[in-house]
């Protein structure tokens, strides 16, 4: 494994925390390194011994774990349900959450003030008192998940990893009786 990139430890430390490495984030260099020549195959093989599988998305990488405890999966599903609501919130905005989009917390809060639907949605997402804090909380949650990246105090950028969320949401089918089913 002499050919492993020297940033392998950095890559592992980010991905093993459940984060993504997106091409358009501040960790773009790491993305380039994984993408460079045979590094992806090498790293995939290398990380496979740790119980993680290095997965490749559209301009992002992440770890998957084939065997997970039910409790963990349940937690993840809960988290995912939350993400779906968050995506629903952002998708209801004038500015849709496409890759590279920059959101300003104050701007989102302003839109929430003027849009009753958004207001209701953000109220359902966060228990904070002020709307601006609610928005910040949601944005921070997405940042923690590696779907957003905070650029400055007020600005968050949508990462390539948002595709992961979109892809999973697109896989959800709603049965006629209203029950959701993940194929």
């Amino acid at each position: 494994m002499n050919n492993l990139p020297k940033q392998t430890a950095d890559i592992f430390s980010i991905l093993s925390r459940g984060n993504f490495i997106s091409s358009n984030g501040s960790k773009g260099k790491l993305f380039d390194i994984i993408t460079y020549e045979d590094n992806y195959a090498l790293l995939r093989e290398y990380f496979s011994h740790t119980g993680y599988t290095l997965e490749k998305g559209h301009n992002y990488y992440y770890f998957s774990q084939p065997d997970e405890a039910n409790l963990v999966m349940e937690k993840k599903l809960e988290q995912f349900a939350y993400y779906i609501d968050v995506m629903d919130f952002f998708s209801s905005m004038d500015l849709k959450p496409t890759v590279g989009t920059r959101y300003r917390i104050t701007q989102i809060a302003e839109e929430c003030f003027s849009n009753e639907r958004l207001k209701q949605k953000i109220f359902a997402l966060s228990r904070r008192e002020k709307i601006i804090d609610k928005v910040a909380e949601v944005a921070n949650d997405l940042t923690l998940g590696g779907l957003f990246e905070q650029e400055d105090e007020d600005t968050y950028k949508v990462m390539d990893a948002i595709h992961y969320l979109e892809q999973v949401i697109s896989l959800i089918t709603i049965e006629e009786d209203g029950e959701q089913k993940n194929p």
Binding site: N59, L95, V99, Y103, E151, D152, T155
Partner: protein
């Protein structure tokens, strides 16, 4: 007084808690006083003379500031009196909002400042000085200026006389060392301090590398580099292309949308107009149709009415014929023929009867005279004969008359019938002729119509419109082709121009590089020569002179060239000092120029040369940037024009494609309309032909009918003639027969009469012979009479029948032919009328069909417009799309459009949907593209999402412009420049800095030499104080050094202004490495938190002190050496040594004709012998000590001046001299 410059006295006037104190300090001075008596205040004031820095006086922040504590009154003064070789001058320090200085010639005199023991205000002092004609300087307002004057570094010559020493620009170490000694006498002596002093001693303004600046520049560089790197990423390049494509497509969709909107507006207006026009046309057609129908109905009624009358007539005729037939049968059954014959014979019967009756009478009247009888008989016979002849002639006359009458009647009848036939046929023929003429007219009409049809241009409006469109298109095509050719030529020309500019710039750059290289090489050679000199000077004559012959510049320096000065083989030996001769010959060199240079001058020259190289490099970088800017601006202008032209070409090509499609469509439409027109023409011609054929047939039929009618007429005429002839012949025959009959009757009668006459004659003769009567005869006569009477009676009985018959014959039977003919005529009339009516009906049906067809066509057209308008109202007006486009739709003028309103609405909607789909993609691409750059990237790839959709279009326009003007080139040039300048700046600064290494080492050597002299021979207190320098451990410096080394290894890495050119792999590797080095430097700077890199960072300094048995080893700081007293002593020694070295350094070129003070407070812990040694140690170095002691002891006996501090009754501190003496060494 010694002939040396020294701070001679310090006078306090209203300073702190001293009203007046005059303290002479022109030697080692000791202040004795208990705490809080003002010792330190005075010492600080002395220190203030040397450092003129209110913050470096050891005043803590909790205490009053220097200004507030010392200068409490406007008439507070500190006066420093300085002794010089030429006399005294004094410095007046006072406060007027801030502290000011004035240099006053002459010694301090109380009366200048005090009047009646009251201090004057500065104005008063100046007035006094003026009064005493004492010269004084202008007010010196800054500490820096004051220091420069005192240390002899002020350029103003009039202040030269007020200098304590003739120092150079690096005098700062002297006040620093004096200050440090005062402030840190009890604290740790850190290597850092010494390093700082060394740095100060040798440093100049160029020695400091401001890391904040470098870090800022590095950050800017790396950010910009990163921006450009991001820009060149493959996916970003692809995405930018995608964005531009998207944008072009969106623009096209917008143009299309605008066109369609205008088309819709035009179509709507046109529909409104057409709706009105067509409605009127439809109403007109309906009205015409209704009128036509009404007229036809009237005609139909008339026709029916007319036919009804004729039919009634025919019916009447038919009934008459029927009745005639019936009656003829009845008459026939009743034997009318015999009756009529008998009736005709009635007069004969009556005559016969009369004759028979007469004969009978005669025969029966007694046979009178036979003669008579016979005469009578004969007479009677003769009478009868005559009567008979009369009757016959009457009959003959009657017959003749009748014959003539019959003949005339027959003629008349014939003429009538002929006339009737003629009349009948003439009417029919006229009718037929009329019809024929009508048909001929119809034929002519049809022929005219045929010509019209042949001439007619079907769907002329559509075809004209299409042809106009095609003509427009072909005209536009020609114009466009010409415009395309012109634009293409322009693009080619611009490309050539661009190539020319690039080529010219490339050659200019090459020339510049060549020139620059030559200049740099020349300068480097000169630097190399200086380096060589500097590396060998210590072993050459130059080094010897430096070491052993001060001021050699003024003598030997004027007569020796550099070859001799830097010759190592000369083995110089000083035979006799101060003998200014050249091999025994005295020369007046006062007007001779000094040829030799000092070390500093060499260094300065080298530094200057380096500066020149740096300047050349900077000039090159600036040139390259300027050239890149110039090239970019020219190319941008060209690119802008080129892109503009290309856009126009693209637009033209797009229009060409659109027009080609349109042309194709128009051609197809034209073909279709022409085909439709031809089909319609064919149809119309067929109709006309059919009509013509029909009419021709009709005409032929009419001609035939006419011929037939003529033939019939002829036949009828012939028949009539024949009938007439036959009848005439028959009549003649009958007449002849009747005449013959009469003649025969006459002949018979005459014969009978002759026979009877003969018979009578015979009878007469028989009677006469026999005379008797014959009854057979009478019987026969009787029977004949009865028969005649019966016949007459029968006639009488049937007279009514005969009359009826005759009436019927006259009224019916004789007119049967007339009736039949009349009936036929009437039937023919009906037939003709029906035929005529059928024709009219056909024309009506045709006209109605045509009208209905036209009406239907108009209705269809109207429906299309109405449906379009309704569709627009119901499905388009309410949409936001309409609101967006209403400014284009509403004002559009009415125009004919190929596509109907519904079609245009659908197209607009489809276009809008496509636009939104494309815009979503466009927005996504832009977000993704811009998202890959830093939010504040220098390429300005930012989106203000709050602005809305327009922002994305602005972004795309900017991107277009960016590519068109190749703006990245400016960024690349800027980054290349900043890269080059950064590396160059770092390298040159590092070079400048490392050049000081030699001087640092020299300084350290000097210090070490001085320290070696510091061993106290008598007491052996300090065995040695050693110093050494080691390589720096500063990480930032190492990185800087790496960059400098890299720069040295790659001396001319600025050949190309593009850090991102991957064509040259070797250059690319070098660039990559250089950028990595800069990144590492930036990282290290941010990690290490250094603000700057100075000379002191070039090396590490280590002390080693052996005091008694204590050996500190190589240490970084001197914390505690021995006991407190020893420690103080050692530190004082070190400081004094440092001060001495610094003074030497600062006044290298001048003789040491001055003394400075070294202020060390609280020296009470040092033992008297050591203190004495210390004083001597300082004395040897022209340094006077000023010490403070809390109590009087024997120590003060070692000083030249000793003062005691005490307070008077007013609380003012009084400084009282205890004794003044010079301690013998």
């Amino acid at each position: 007084m010694e002939n040396k410059r020294i701070l001679n006295r310090i006078i306090f006037i209203n300073i702190a808690n001293t009203d007046y104190a005059d303290v002479e300090i022109a030697g080692n001075t000791c202040f004795v006083g208990t705490n809080n008596m003002g010792k330190t205040t005075l010492q600080r004031a002395i220190l203030f003379f040397y450092n003129a820095n209110t913050r470096w006086l050891g005043i803590s922040q909790s205490q009053k500031t220097f200004e507030d504590y010392y200068f409490q009154y406007p008439n507070s003064y500190i006066i420093y009196e300085v002794a010089t070789e030429d006399g005294l001058f004094h410095v007046m320090v006072y406060r007027n909002t801030k502290i000011f200085y004035r240099f006053v010639e002459g010694a301090f005199e109380q009366e200048y400042y005090l009047t009646d023991k009251e201090a004057l205000l500065p104005k008063g002092v100046l007035a006094k000085l003026n009064e005493y004609k004492i010269n004084y300087s202008d007010q010196v307002e800054t500490f820096e200026r004051y220091r420069n004057i005192i240390y002899g570094a002020d350029p103003d010559k009039k202040f030269k006389k007020f200098a304590l020493m003739k120092g150079n620009a690096n005098y700062h170490n002297i006040p620093l060392a004096i200050t440090s000694i005062f402030l840190s006498s009890e604290s740790v002596i850190k290597a850092e301090f010494v390093k700082e002093c060394i740095a100060n001693a040798i440093g100049s303004k160029h020695t400091t590398i401001e890391l904040k600046t470098i870090e800022r520049q590095l950050r800017q560089f790396t950010e910009r580099y990163h921006d450009i790197e991001t820009f060149f990423r493959k996916e970003n390049a692809q995405r930018s292309e995608l964005i531009r494509d998207n944008f072009t497509y969106i623009q096209q969709l917008k143009v299309k949308q605008r066109m369609q909107a205008a088309e819709l507006g035009g179509a709507l207006k046109n529909a409104e107009v057409q709706k009105g026009t067509i409605s009127i046309q439809v109403a007109d057609k309906k009205e015409i149709l209704t009128k036509l129908e009404t007229e036809f109905k009237e005609k139909d009624d008339q026709h029916k009415e007319k036919n009804k009358e004729v039919n009634q007539e025919i019916g009447a005729l038919k009934s008459k014929l029927k009745e005639a037939d019936k009656k003829a049968n009845e008459y026939e059954e009743k034997g009318i023929v015999d009756l009529l014959r008998e009736a005709e014979e009635k007069p004969q019967f009556q005559i016969e009867l009369q004759a028979r009756e007469h004969e009978y009478g005669t025969l029966t009247a007694s046979f009178k005279d036979v003669e008579q009888q016979f005469k009578t008989l004969l007479d009677s016979l003769e009478n009868e004969k005559k009567e008979f002849a009369n009757v016959l002639s009457s009959q003959g006359l009657q017959l003749d008359k009748k014959h003539h009458e019959d003949k005339n009647a027959l003629h008349e009848n014939f003429r009538q019938e002929e006339a009737s036939v003629k009349e009948k046929h003439r009417a029919e023929a006229d009718q037929l002729k009329q019809m024929k003429t009508q048909h001929e007219f119809s034929i002519k009409d049809a022929e005219f119509k045929e010509k019209e049809i042949r001439k007619q241009r079907y769907f002329a409006q559509e075809i004209t419109q299409l042809k106009t469109n095609i003509e427009d298109l072909s005209r536009r095509k020609v114009e466009r082709n010409s415009a395309l050719a012109v634009k293409q030529n322009n693009v080619d020309m611009l490309k050539k121009e661009g190539d020319h500019i690039r080529e010219r710039n490339r050659s200019t750059t090459e020339q510049y590089i060549e020139k620059n290289k030559q200049e740099v090489t020349g300068l480097e050679e000169r630097i190399k020569a200086i380096d060589e000199k500097l590396s060998v000077y210590q072993h050459a004559f130059f080094g010897y002179l430096q070491e052993h012959y001060p001021d050699w510049y003024e003598t030997i320096g004027k007569v020796c060239n550099e070859e001799i000065l830097f010759n190592k083989e000369l083995n110089p030996k000083l035979l006799k000092k101060s003998m200014d001769s050249l091999y025994g010959i005295q020369l007046n060199l006062s007007n001779v120029k000094v040829y030799s240079k000092t070390l500093e001058e060499y260094e300065q020259e080298r530094s200057m040369l380096r500066d020149q190289i740096a300047a050349l490099n900077h000039a090159f970088l600036a040139f390259r940037e300027e050239q890149a800017r110039d090239e970019q601006s020219k190319l941008a202008s060209i690119g802008k024009k080129s892109v503009h032209l290309k856009n126009e070409i693209m637009q033209l090509e797009y229009e060409a494609t659109q027009d080609a499609q349109k042309e194709k469509q128009y051609d197809l439409d034209l073909h279709e309309w022409t085909r439709k027109g031809e089909v319609q023409r064919e149809k119309d011609l067929i109709e006309v032909y059919t009509l013509q054929e029909g009419v021709k047939k009709e005409i032929a039929s009419l001609a035939k009918t006419l011929a037939e009618v003529d033939a019939v007429m002829k036949t009828e005429n012939t028949t009539l003639q024949q009938t007439f002839n036959d009848k005439l012949a028959k009549l003649d025959k009958t007449f002849a027969k009747e005449a013959e009959k009469i003649r025969s009757q006459k002949d018979d009668k005459l014969e009978e009469f002759e026979e009877r006459k003969g018979k009578l004659q015979k009878e007469k003769s028989g009677v006469l012979k026999k005379k008797g009567i014959d009854d057979t005869r009478i019987k026969k006569l009787k029977k004949e009479i009865d028969d005649i009477r019966a016949a007459l009676k029968n006639l009488e009985d049937n007279a009514e029948l005969i009359n009826d018959y005759r009436k019927d014959k006259r009224e019916l039977f004789d007119r049967l032919d007339e009736f039949k003919s009349e009936k036929e005529k009437l039937e023919e009339r009906i037939k003709q009328s029906d035929k005529e009516f059928t024709q009219q009906k056909d024309i009506f049906a045709k006209t109605r069909k045509q009208l209905e067809e036209e009406s239907r066509r108009l209705m269809d057209s109207l429906k299309k417009f109405v449906d379009g308008l309704n569709h627009f109202e119901q499905h388009f007006r309410g949409k936001t799309l309409y609101d967006r486009l209403r400014h284009l739709i509403d004002p559009a003028p009415a125009t004919f459009t190929e596509t109907d309103i519904i079609g245009i609405c659908s197209q607009l909607q489809a276009n809008d949907n496509e636009f939104h789909n494309q815009f979503d993609k466009f927005r996504g691409n832009i977000s993704e593209f811009a998202g890959r750059f830093r939010p504040d990237n220098h390429l300005n790839f930012n989106i203000n999402t709050a602005v809305g959709e327009g922002e994305y279009e602005r972004f795309a326009s900017y991107l277009d412009e960016f590519y068109a003007e190749n703006k990245i080139q400016i960024s690349i040039a800027e980054v290349a420049k900043s890269h080059g300048m950064l590396i160059d700046a770092i390298s040159s600064k590092m070079k400048a800095l490392t050049e000081y290494k030699g001087r640092v080492n020299k300084m350290i050597s000097k210090m070490e030499a001085d320290f070696s002299k510091a061993s106290f021979e008598s007491s052996k207190l300090i065995e040695y104080v050693k110093l050494k320098s080691e390589d720096s451990e500063n990480k930032v410096l190492r990185k800087l050094q790496k960059i400098t080394d890299f720069r040295e290894q790659n001396p001319f890495l600025y050949g190309e202004a593009n850090l991102f050119n991957t064509n040259n792999s070797a250059k690319s590797e070098i660039d990559k490495r250089s950028v990595e080095l800069l990144n590492e430097l930036q990282k290290t700077i941010s990690e290490e938190h250094y603000d700057e890199i100075n000379v002191q960072d070039l090396f590490e300094l280590r002390f080693r002190i052996k005091e008694g048995m204590n050996d500190t080893g190589w240490i970084e700081k001197i914390d505690k050496v021995g006991s407190t007293g020893t420690d103080m002593l050692v530190k004082a020694v070190i400081y004094i040594t440092l001060l001495n070295v610094f003074i030497k350094e600062s006044t290298e070129k001048t003789t040491r004709n001055f003394k400075v003070h070294c202020i060390i407070d609280e020296v009470g812990q040092i033992s008297a012998p050591y203190l004495k040694e210390l004083i001597n140690f300082a004395e040897e170095r022209n340094i006077c000590l000023i010490n403070g002691l809390p109590n009087e002891s024997k120590l003060e006996t070692h000083y030249n001046y000793t003062y005691k501090f005490r307070k008077d009754t007013n609380g003012y501190v009084k400084v009282v001299p205890l004794l003044t003496m010079t301690v013998e060494p």
